[in-house]
Amino acid sequence: MRVLLSGNEAVARGAWEAGVAVACAYPGTPSTEILENVALYPEIDAQWSVNEKVAYEVALGAAMGGRRSLFACKHVGLNVAMDPLMTSSYTGISGGFVVVVCDDPQMHSSQNEQDTRWVGIFGKLPVLEPAGPGEAREFVKEAFAISEEYDTPVLLRMTTRVSHTKEDVEISERVEVEPRPFVRDVAKYVMIPKNARGRHVVVEARMARLQALAERMPCNRVEEGCGKLGFVTAGVSYNYVKEAYPEASVLKLGMAYPFCDEKIAEFAGTVEQVVVVEELDPFIEDHLKALGIAVTAKDASFRIGELGTAFVRDIVEGKKKHATPVTARKPLFCAGCPHRFAFVVLKKMRVYVAGDIGCYALASLPPLSSLHTCICMGTGVTLVEGLGLAMRDERVVGVLGDSTFVHSGITGLINAAYNKAKGVVVILDNSITAMTGGQQNPTTGLTIRNEPTKKLDLEKLCQSCGADNVDVIDHSDIAAFEKLVTERLAEDALSVIIARSPCKMIDRRRRPVPAYEQELCKQCGLCLQIDCPALTAIDDGFIAIDGNVCVGCNLCTDVCRFGALKKNEA
């Protein structure tokens, strides 16, 4: 049967068909839908973990215990899981273990553009790279087979255009896999230096066997064509090559690492000009050059962003990437979003805001322009401490979400308390992981399958971490919120303010649209500064409220100084 599946749905389907028993992840675009779809299969023990390191370790444990297991994350998520990843390469597994990583060329929804294929070299692990959903399903199954045969975690590297493309995919049924017996094997699983030295030898021998396997892998395939060009390509780029040069010869690398050196050399010998087409870093290019093969490769300008069919022609012709101007509309907070309340206040207070990753990062864009850093998860706490050490006279407020705080903020808060740091951290608790589409987390009291579970008590947690003050406030009362932040900033203390108000994706209640009296409006534009999608400027600086969009949060009535916007109690 053929069904329409996205790359992420196909990974979930393939894993289920392969008999996977355990799957763990922390959400992150473009990988989130993998676990969301895995969770639809009752045979699989699925979880949103607290962060990627935890997810990786739980899944690894299940694999060591003999069950097929899967871990999924976005590219930067793997940074958080690198510690267990590097040493699990040494220990190996027992039941198959597949590590799915979704890169985001073009940074559609990410803070950097790192290329995960290098982790194959760095971690000495095999990497498979599908070109579309159909292959994603097949390669996951293949990855489990390789994992068990070679006793290694296997990386499956996806990109946004593979994860979020849908195509018709042939599906089949689940085949249950017998759990492998668990063996106590200290030399394999206790990585003290003595044992690790022995395992490193095993890893190097494994790499040699995997390289031999790469030569035989059917997914490293030659498509013979005509003409003088021969393309070496992988992943989604393969599609662009086929589209631009349908007649040309192609060596498609389904196994990105280790390389099939003999097959590559043989292919290079059959064509006049070898062209490498790959997104992001020169991973294949550098390797072919090291093999002494003369290649035409993309200009360095193409290392930035995605490729496309037209770009393939430019690469062959040796051109530079002509950057297209961005004309897309900027994203903004939803109507009624509680984050808007916080940033209207912080902007007014003119404080320096150490931000973090989540919907609230949108507050950095004009006109709100009130978030000043966003690096990686957890920095909404740690940068308050670090910046405070450097700039003693600047008022710094840290801001991060509930999911991000649990992911990486807790350790930073303990560190601040332990090292006697002072300052204010605001946890924007909207009771959901919103940026990635609304996933549960320990603060919501629900699991990935929406089953009730233990709910994390943020207040008690922050107290235990050592915060001097822990306040809880509904910050839709912006005057009260401003007063509280001002007071806490004036104190010589470490303070956490939990600003609690639900995300509008979960709280769908609507209140009446405010009344607008144009006669009272002084056209000052202050209400437009809150960047609400329901408010638009019309002629002469007057405004219009879109009643379909407005949810009646009344923030605009709070900022209007002339009473032109009024709460409608009706």
Binding site: L4, E33, H108, T165, K166, E167, G308, T309, P331
Partner: protein, 161 residues
């Protein structure tokens, strides 16, 4: 006979139901026995930013994206986005932006815009009615299926002078 690839670009702003529209279209093409690819965007851009979804179907589809100047159809959900999206259209391609006005008159709620525009598109694609009906059943929850079928039919029969 090889069927050539049909290229459609859907675009508008987050929250307008663009991914749902392309989902109906891709599902109908699949029911008709085509090889289909459809691209989506998730995450950041969806918060009121520009959203685009490409659908390509035929016998052999490689790229999930429609290149500039290659779209047979442009289904634009918001007039402010038209200027940005128009370069996708090939010379002689069909621009459904003119359907925004009749759509606004015909529908009672903005959430029906996507179904209406897919209805309008459906009359021009050479995909049988039965496949469209199957697709609508596959994509919509039973609760809202009937109202959407009605809107779809209204879009399908709309005429533009």
């Amino acid at each position: 006979m090889k069927r050539s690839v049909c290229n459609i670009v859907f675009g508008g702003i987050g929250g307008q139901g663009i991914l749902k529209a392309s989902e109906i279209c891709a599902t109908a093409a699949l029911c008709e026995g085509h090889h289909v690819k459809k691209s989506e965007v998730h995450g950041m851009a969806q918060r009121g930013g520009s959203v685009e979804s490409h659908v390509r179907f035929g016998d052999a589809v490689y790229s999930p994206l429609v290149g500039a100047g290659l779209a047979d159809f442009l289904v634009c959900f918001h007039k402010d986005e038209h200027q940005r999206l128009r370069p996708f259209l090939k010379p002689g391609g069909t621009d459904l932006t003119d359907y925004l006005e009749p759509a606004a008159r015909a529908i009672t709620h903005p959430r029906h815009l996507n179904t209406f525009l897919v209805g309008a598109l459906s009359a021009r694609l050479g995909i049988g009615e039965e496949s469209w009906t199957k697709a609508m059943h596959a994509v919509f929850d039973a609760k809202i299926l009937e109202e959407n079928l009605k809107v779809f039919r209204a879009g399908r029969s709309v005429e533009i002078q």
